[in-house]
Symmetry: C2
Subunit: 287 residues, 2 copies
Amino acid sequence: MNETTNRPRVAFQGERGAFSEEAALRLLGDEIQLVPRPSFESLFAAINEGLADYALAPLENSLAGSVQRSYDLLLEHSLHIVGEVIIPISHSLISCPGATFESIRTIESHPVALAHCLRFLGAHPQIRPLATEDTAGSVAQVVRRGDRTCAAIAGKRAAEVYGGVVLLEHLEDHEENYTRFVLLTSSTVLSDEANKLSLIIKLPDGAGTLYHALEPFARHGLNLLKLESRPIRGRPWEYYFYLDLQASTKDKKVEDALAELNERASEVRILGCYPSARVTQTETSTH
Amino acid sequence: MNETTNRPRVAFQGERGAFSEEAALRLLGDEIQLVPRPSFESLFAAINEGLADYALAPLENSLAGSVQRSYDLLLEHSLHIVGEVIIPISHSLISCPGATFESIRTIESHPVALAHCLRFLGAHPQIRPLATEDTAGSVAQVVRRGDRTCAAIAGKRAAEVYGGVVLLEHLEDHEENYTRFVLLTSSTVLSDEANKLSLIIKLPDGAGTLYHALEPFARHGLNLLKLESRPIRGRPWEYYFYLDLQASTKDKKVEDALAELNERASEVRILGCYPSARVTQTETSTH
């Protein structure tokens, strides 16, 4: 934590008004200093560079799936997961004052947000989707340019922040649309409420190695919540596996299972043990 | 196959000169009719729409990982995998005649190609990367516009097809850069050389269900080559698992393992059993 203030500095990817900003406020409350970072790379580097005490990274969306870049950056950086938050994602079509839906020919947004709205985009072939770095940043640019043929897809919050006009709401293909973020920091903190364990493993070659690596967790009745694979750079068709388990390292059987896993995997790295988030669809942002 | 000609029509995503086109020619030879499709959606729809007999879809890159959209479209369409091909990916910087590297301020390419060249892009912050639909299509546009401040990242083949100028070669971060494509068609064909099995499974809730699903394959000594998870739409934090196994359904023990899997999974869909591709770094395209 920054010594000059009691308010922790929390980095997020994107600009003011981004879903990530909302996630940070929801997880940590208003008493934080928000540190917008332009890219995933600069987000993950923010702590080492002394710009932030924490970084909040999106790991997964319930429709689009894993955020592959975040998974790779988790591996590249030695940060620890100390918390998580899940927020509902609802997309609005936002343009500058004076624009109408009929005038729109281009829609700018982050590729994941565009992927959330494929049905809407498919139904309006006269509108060209354009991939950008950021949802809220696209709103900022669309409003600044004042071009009534352009709109952005982003959260409603961005319209308030930048003075945009909401033309349409709920563009997303599916209502059940959530993004899960993890809170990263440079030191390990084991909360009493920790009940979720994330780790990265690398397995030896051969048949059945993943099966054998999962065996200790299955035997101890520990629920595997997620399993993600990412390629090992320079070793085509070999993978790191990222495991999320319903487990706390304070639990003796988790300790035993990890000791057994260590014998079966060629590498094991614990990313963190932290309280899992629970957010329901009916919860809405109060920010 | 189209009755009016002996040459099968093979759809690929992208424009003339794309890596996908090279992959199709390498897998099937020159005696095919190439059917370029503008998007992954239209690629997967091409067979049902009567536009093609086969579709060649990229599933995975050895650096960037799984092509998530292809995995989701495999689930949505009832196509069968009947073959695969792996090609080395080497990226060149291509602009219009008259351009020099010093004049370039914008680089256009598909996001996966941009992701292959992060080190190069990071070393040249004066150049703005711009995500587009296609590698070769970006070359076509850059050459057509004749704007010497713009270049595209694509395979060298695209420079030949569109009359572009290669400014730099081998922009990729890692030499070991391959993309794996699968050949899809509407009917199942089981080749005698089939030695790779791809399937999608859905598991019941609870601890150890993935472990139990993998058990029959491990017991029979069948090698799990890849495991990918994709979110189930409308059911947040539940997943389909895509398995690639070193196995042929002609093998009795594979048949037994699949029968046991059927009892442990809530859904099992066989995507295909086909000959696996083997391509080494020293192989280069002859097209």
